[in-house]
Symmetry: D2
Subunit: 350 residues, 4 copies
């Protein structure tokens, strides 16, 4: 960290900064410029707010951090890509993975039909919400444990591993019994008790970017999970909140190549929540693949018009199948194969 | 809700919308214009996503909601101001309340000194964090139960009721034993399991606005708590995230008179988190009062430079005392008295 | 437009709304619901602020527009895609066009080298700034007329048509003598005198989206130009301003398929300004193509490290050539050919 | 400026940075840390994009500016407050000034009635738009020269100096003949040809903050004007664009005390455009005064319901009078008198 003093700063003000650093067991390296004094901070274990603490001291003009606040999640720490293995699938390797299924598990018929459909079209994972975070207390809150049981049945029938959301620390153990990947929703990206509990779980997780989270905060949330013991974190860009209201969120695809540069963790994209409109899902799914994502998570519903949640952004089974065909061609153009476990399973069973 | 069809919409497309409404047990009122057909939706218990469901149907151009999604929190539902009583104080009445204290409870000495200081300057509540949500897993996470005990001691010594944060559902009962007001942090505004649990608590709560929450979402979060049984919700504007980085957040003071119009709940402002800079706290505190806030929550620390968290935005005891004197004059100018319980306590003890 | 009255609205308040409409030569269609009265506005030529005017009348709860404010730019008005012809090239047709060149024209040597390089790699247009909008008065402001002359030389040598920025109404005529396409910068998207003047010009133009412009405002700016007589408007998504600071802007790729749905105008993307980082240009260029853009505008510089402006986001000639090769494969995957005029020119000259 | 190298940076990469600096006639001061090398940049006349140029060099991790990019506008450069004198009034001195009048000049009757009304209630300036920037080409575009003539009549009748908007460089000279203060609208904050032309004018100007302009960009725009010769710049905070749609903009009042700290220029607030709702104007006007603004600009219309523009956010004459009375009390509470030239004029004429 570097503190730049004002041109008018006095020797006493410089000395005061040095003393404050000493209070925090840190050393100062003073560099006297022509116009300004610059103070470098030396030591380890900087307090979280050190930057802001220095910034308000008399005579200080600006303070800048020169290292990133996350370590375990950083590519400096681990240069090679992390490949997360879950339910026999690999996320972040050469193959591109697609997670698909309904927003909410609504009934046996709906789930089984969707699971079979997406498996047949080449999905690698079955997604489906049993516990649903809803902005209205009057909206459908999910089937809960019954939903988890239906997901297990979907897995039995199709062989697809399951990704499903967990909303509070006390649920982690139970949801982890069913899920192959624990999903952390955008609104929980900074639910620190939940991150800690998932950090202690042996199951991989997928961490959605918060609606207003910077890329740095997102990687810090991954750091929380990794610091508490779980290295198997998949990141998911799902759109940020901006002034634009024509789309539900603004899918920030530039975050994908940027995160791949800053971190070794896999990154996938959610074009369904990212846009909120069915007709934008395919173009943005293809765009995410072209931008270098490691996979997609897509909402699919056999009858979107009667879905209990997020119908408007769900693809039909036919729409999903069409997406997968175009996706495979776009991936081929950038030299990346599409993971198609079900095709392999079927081949194996012959 | 009103669905406006495209000029080119066919009779079949109009009929399809009507059918989808029927599926959701709703009726359609069709109004044939010169250029377009407009369909009004009639019935009760609209699904959460009805708007988006209709929006993607073939032939539909736009859908608009014509009533607000919250009920209990709305001024239509309850025209008179709600006054929340907590620890003998009243929030949302004629008197303006000030909550003050350190960001984190750090030590007995720090807490007692601050509590006595702010009480002497006219604060109505003692604030202090025992459980701290921190963006870094490497930062000070609060004293926990020891912090709650110190807050109780602060209350014994000064008579000030306590407001302190609760971070997860499993903590609510324990924190409610100590706290007079349960604080819900900005990052937890849409932590629905936490909102439900606080809804079941008999203790009043203060709900901070999320970093990227619209005013409608904020009121929906209050609705969650009220719907689960707790009518004593105080709202707190603490700054939203915008493109501007010169301040920690952008304190949206216009939210204050707007919320007072839409809702009967009390609203206070947090100029400390809202700005992140000590030198902006007093101007924005006075501005919040002038804009019609029912109170303030302010960070005060006897030695901000060595604070374990949020030092840069904390006022010194002297700074707080100076703020209170100016604040009293500004409040008088708009015809509002400042609650000064300690002064009364002292007077009573004479 | 529809005005929804409050449940408590009186008959006088309803009558007042009707009178205000009459003042603006509009009629009211009153529909009495169970709880609320809804007033439909009938007539043509709504004043710009009618929505806001009604919204503040006593008893009014909400007002919603049910038609879009732009006409000429809308796909309702013109269902078929507009193809803009400029300098012998077609923008918005089947072929994907790439505009490339330096941010600023700096010297004959720089421009000629870049023009030849990008032409050889398959660019359709030569871009280059002669008049530069710079946020600092101390920064290089462009070569002006000399820059235009160098662009003309670049065109003579390579056959590529020219796109270059015009910054003020008084310059339009002179810049249009040289340019094949007039570029309107993001900061000028709502410079209405400039839009009017370009509307009167016979030359096609490219309208960049403003940093904080909604898609509707962007289309309204196109409407200005079209209304004043120029139907040849190409839209360019170049990133919006959000809270994220890790990228220069947030390239909103979902705007591309959305605009293609709302409007018949061609849309291209600018991954250079959209990201601000050279290493993000190729992934986002491919993503834009996959999302359905009609073309790209890309900054290329033979020696980016010594560029007088925007060096950090400029591709080298080699980087551009590599981009074009991958781009061609991605476009093929979605069934779209890349326009390669220079290849054709060369073939013709054999 | 300081460039921090990656931990893995090689000696060649460090040397490359040094060479690039040399190319720009700058020197490097290398400081070898335990983990990283930090390179300080020494010299004057940094290119505008130097930061971004260095940032993309191989081996570079982060680059930070340590001085601000504006000079003339900075309080470092001129520690004492600038007081702008215009039409016999002083802006930025001890007295608080209020500019009031209609959004658009519509007719003689409307203007004269408003001018007399606001003068009688204590306004210091008459505002009114003759040339109007409108987002729709179909909306009322202002009376033009006729509007300027009516403003002159308003000034003759009331003695109030005039502030009115100028939209393009070619208009500056003509508008300056009438105006006492030239207003630069939010959408023109980075219309650099306009800023230059106003920089050459002898008339003071008021520079509105752009919808998505950072405080630094706003001060850079002021720097443009000052650099071209006009030191009499008044800044005006008028709300920024955020994700919140319940208000027209988000009035960023924290910008006021922050700009007062960074710059010596006067700052006023526009609660009319800042909120877009009449019922929010008074609370936010009082809040701006409490936050330390030097004045206000407020829209007032004798019959807002029939205004040709911005009616919904205009105060009535009665509403304005009531605002002025409360404002005077709030200002007194913070020790600041309200400028009331008309009262003085009337007193003088007795």
């Amino acid at each position: 960290m570097i503190a730049v003093m004002q041109p008018s700063a006095t020797a006493e003000e410089v000395e005061h900064v040095v003393e404050v650093l000493r209070l925090h067991n840190l050393k100062a390296q003073i560099s006297q410029g022509e116009e300004r004094t610059v103070i470098g901070v030396i030591g380890t274990g900087f307090p979280d707010d050190l930057l802001e603490t220095l910034e308000v001291l008399p005579g200080v003009d600006r303070v800048t951090r020169i290292t990133r606040p996350y370590k375990l999640a950083s590519r400096d720490f681990r240069p090679a890509n992390t490949v997360v293995e879950a339910g026999g699938q690999r996320i972040g390797g050469t193959e591109f993975v697609v997670m698909a299924g309904p927003c909410s598990v609504e009934s046996r018929e709906q789930l089984v039909r969707t699971a079979r459909g997406v498996a047949g079209s080449g999905a690698s994972f079955l997604r489906g919400g049993a516990f649903k975070p809803r902005t209205s207390p009057y909206a459908f809150q999910g089937l809960g444990i019954d939903g988890l049981n239906l997901l297990e049945e979907g897995r039995r029938l199709t062989g697809l591993p399951i990704i499903t959301e967990v909303m509070e620390p006390a649920q982690v153990e139970r949801v982890a019994e069913t899920a192959d990947v624990l999903q952390i929703g955008a609104r929980n990206m900074q639910n620190f008790p939940l991150l800690k509990e998932i950090g202690r779980s042996p199951k991989p997780c997928m961490l959605k970017r918060g609606l207003s989270a910077t890329i740095e905060e997102w990687l810090m949330a991954a750091e929380y999970i990794m610091h508490h013991g779980n290295p198997n974190v998949v990141l998911c860009e799902r759109g940020i909140r901006t002034f634009e209201t024509a789309t539900r969120n603004t899918l920030d695809l530039s975050a994908i190549p940027l995160v791949k540069r800053l971190s070794h963790l896999p990154v996938i994209a959610d074009p369904s929540h990212g846009t909120g409109h069915r007709y934008l899902v395919q173009p943005m799914a293809l765009a995410a693949a072209a931008a270098g994502a490691d996979g997609l998570i897509v909402e699919v519903h056999p009858e979107p018009d009667s879905a209990l949640s997020d119908g408007p952004q769900s693809l039909t089974l036919e729409g999903f199948d069409q997406l997968m065909q175009t996706l495979e061609r776009v991936l081929a153009a950038i030299g990346r194969p599409l993971a198609m476990p079900h095709a392999r399973l079927r081949a194996a069973s012959v």
